[in-house]
């Protein structure tokens, strides 16, 4: 057979070339892919830039539109209500002038009368005439001017006169005006400034007489609210919710075994936290009742701020245009973001329109004083007015807490379930656990039996061998005995292992039960101790006195503006 050799090197070389070519193409494809990605990124940047530009342009246009529109609105305001601004400025000026006694009464009279001519429908104009007439003891003109102001806006005039009289220390007049003001309020929907006025009244800013008289009006409010069939229930519920809101956070770190093994540790934790509320409430109410009343300077300022805003704020007629002006202003402030501006406007309006019932106001003042800026005197007053509901609501809170205490502590150790009567049954539990574990051990050991198979087979072989070949019987017996011994030894080893593991489980389980019972006892003791503090709260609530709530004190006025 001749040797035939085929030279494959050209093919190999070509293949190498193809491979190189493929690699080259692959690199080119990769380069194109990179270029494509770069192009895409650039395009995305361009789109993003374009979108940013469009957004910025929209915002800029909104700002521009708002700026143009706000000018129009202001012009309209100025045209329609410009004279109101003059009245407001002059009123502020007259109040300032009165504070420092730098302007002659005649000048003030002329200014007042001029205001009256300038603002034909505005309540503040006759109120100003009344003020200037009152300053120079012109009783007849004062009466006529006040009547006119009240005809134009009874509510604002009443509040204005009450606040002006307070500034000038005319406590007798304050008493009547304030009384009238509170009587005009709807106890189910109080205005925002009532909280400030109530605070001032409780602190005696308006004088003793005003505080006493107004307290009786406030009692009438409550009486009016109490006429509603659901009022008592709602009011109690309000207090219950307010008290529960002060519940401290659960802290179960002292009970690691309960946390790990008790099936209801969350309920236990909640129960303890609810019981700890007693201490919180004891401190809260004791602070209100025992703390000395000091008139905060900010309160006098706050009362004067109400006068200032009455004098400087817009009248109802102007509201539509003023609101539009404010909305446009917000668009400018929010850099053209119309949605954000609208949200702010809604929030502002809601805060402005917010009205609460007197009963809610009392609860807020006593329970969340920081949130509503209630002074200690108002907190005392609120508690005094609500004593009946507070006491009743607290009784319900305590009963709720006690009713929610779990009857026992269910737990599981090594798949054995039981419920502890808060650790008092430790011995019984350990004994029951022991019994269960002994039963389990017996069951486990029962299934391990020495197999007689080897002995039986050896006996049969030995018996057969005895007749055929005697030494075979001996060999069979030895083998059979060896097999049996091996099986027996293995079983013994298993039994010992099971017993050892069981002993460990029993010891560990007992340790857990003992620890759990100890923590249960400790928990129950702590719960009882916290629960017992409810008596302290009840005693503190018993010390609430509505009469002591009104701390009376006069003060001097603050300079206007």
């Amino acid at each position: 057979m001749s040797n035939v050799s085929i030279d494959l090197s050209p093919v190999v070389n070509r293949l190498d070339n193809v491979a190189q070519l493929a690699e080259h193409v692959s690199k080119q494809v990769e380069a194109v892919s990179h270029q494509h990605q770069d192009t895409r990124n650039a395009l995305e940047r361009l789109i993003a830039d374009f979108q940013s530009f469009v957004a910025a342009d929209t915002l800029a246009k909104e700002i521009q539109r708002a700026e143009t529109r706000v000018i129009t609105v202001r012009q309209e305001l100025d045209k329609k209500y410009g004279h109101h601004d003059i009245v407001r400025r002059r009123t502020t000026g007259i109040l300032q002038a009165t504070d420092v006694a730098l302007v002659r009464q005649e000048t003030m009279q002329v200014a007042g009368e001029q205001i009256m001519l300038d603002a034909p429908r505005y309540w503040l104009a006759p109120a100003m005439v009344a003020l200037t007439a009152w300053i120079r003891d012109d009783a007849a003109l004062t009466r006529r001017a006040v009547t006119e102001a009240m005809r134009r806006d009874d509510y604002k005039t009443t509040l204005f006169m009450a606040l002006v009289c307070r500034r000038f220390g005319r406590h007798g007049a304050v008493d009547q005006w304030l009384n009238r003001y509170f009587q005009q309020q709807n106890p189910f929907a109080l205005d925002r400034e009532v909280m400030t006025l109530l605070d001032a009244m409780a602190n005696g800013v308006f004088g003793a007489g005003a505080s006493g008289h107004c307290a009786s009006v406030l009692k009438q409010w409550l009486a009016a609210q109490a006429q509603q069939p659901v009022f008592a229930t709602e009011q109690r519920q309000r207090w219950i919710q307010a008290m529960i809101a002060l519940t401290p956070a659960g802290d179960f770190t002292a009970y690691p075994t309960l946390t790990r093994h008790a099936g209801n540790w969350r309920a236990l934790d909640s129960s303890l936290a609810a019981a700890r509320l007693n201490q919180v409430l004891a401190q809260h109410f004791a602070r209100i009742i025992d703390q000395e009343v000091v008139l905060p300077e900010r309160l006098v300022d706050a009362v004067d701020d109400i006068l200032q805003s009455l004098v400087t704020n817009f009248d109802d007629d102007e509201l539509v245009l003023r609101r539009e002006e404010r909305s446009l202003q917000l668009v400018i402030e929010k850099a053209g973001d119309v949605a954000a501006a609208r949200a702010s406007a809604v929030n502002e309006q809601r805060a402005f329109d917010e009205k609460i019932s007197f009963a809610q106001l009392l609860t807020n003042a006593a329970m969340f004083p920081a949130q509503v800026n209630a002074t200690i005197a108002t907190q005392k007053f609120a508690l005094g007015m609500s004593r009946e509901w507070v006491t009743s609501a607290y009784g319900d809170v305590v009963a709720q807490t006690r009713a929610a205490v779990p009857a026992g502590v269910p737990f599981e150790v090594h798949n054995w379930k039981a419920t502890s009567a808060y650790g008092e049954d430790e011995k019984a539990l350990i004994s029951a656990f022991d019994g269960e574990m002994k039963k389990r051990l017996a069951d486990l050991l029962a299934v391990i039996k020495d197999s007689p198979k080897a002995l039986i087979i050896a006996s049969l072989v030995g018996a057969a061998g005895f007749f055929i070949y005697k030494p075979l019987a001996l060999i069979a017996a030895v083998i059979g005995l060896y097999a049996w011994w091996t099986n027996h030894s293995a079983n013994e080893t298993r039994r010992k292992a099971i017993q050892k593991q069981h002993a460990q489980q029993v010891a560990e389980g007992k340790k857990i039960i003992v620890a759990l019972c100890a923590e249960c006892v400790d928990f129950k003791r702590r719960l009882a101790s916290e629960d017992a503090k409810s008596a302290e709260v009840t005693a503190i609530l018993g010390r609430i006195s509505p009469e002591a709530a009104l701390f009376l004190r006069a003060d001097s006025g603050r300079a206007m503006l």
Binding site: P229, V230, A232, T233, S392, G395, D396, V398, A399, Q400, R402, A403, A404, V405, P406, A407, G408, T419, A421, S534
Partner: protein
Amino acid sequence: MARPIIGLTPVQSTAHGLQPTQRSLVDKRRALELLRVKRSNRYLEAMSRLDAGAHLADRAGIEGLIQVFIQEFPELGRGHAPLGIAARCLLGPPYEVHICDFAGTILEHFPRGRPMPAIFERARSLALHPGYACVEVYSDHLVAIGLDGQVAIIESRSDV
């Protein structure tokens, strides 16, 4: 095992007449407000005699207890009477709480660990608390009566 005191077989009929048609015209809210009134000494004494069982030896005994409630709340009448009373048991271990089921006209003592009927079980913790003389059990609320007759109300969730 509960220890029956009266030995009466619980009857299915509502012995104190709690049929809806016989309920008084007082609405639920108003009834709850009325139930807040401090209980009289007479009422507290009647409830405290539950353990003795002497006056409850027959159905008439429990009817007498219902009458005490009606006299305490004439405006409410028997239509608003509680389903029963749960209170701390003074018989000693193993008994810890007893219930007087007005509908079943039965007084039953329960040892620790043995649950009471569900409608009464939710009152167990309160009944065991030394601060309360007894607990009036209603279908949707509990009224805990303090040792001095003061009242606290726990409105239950509707899942009971």
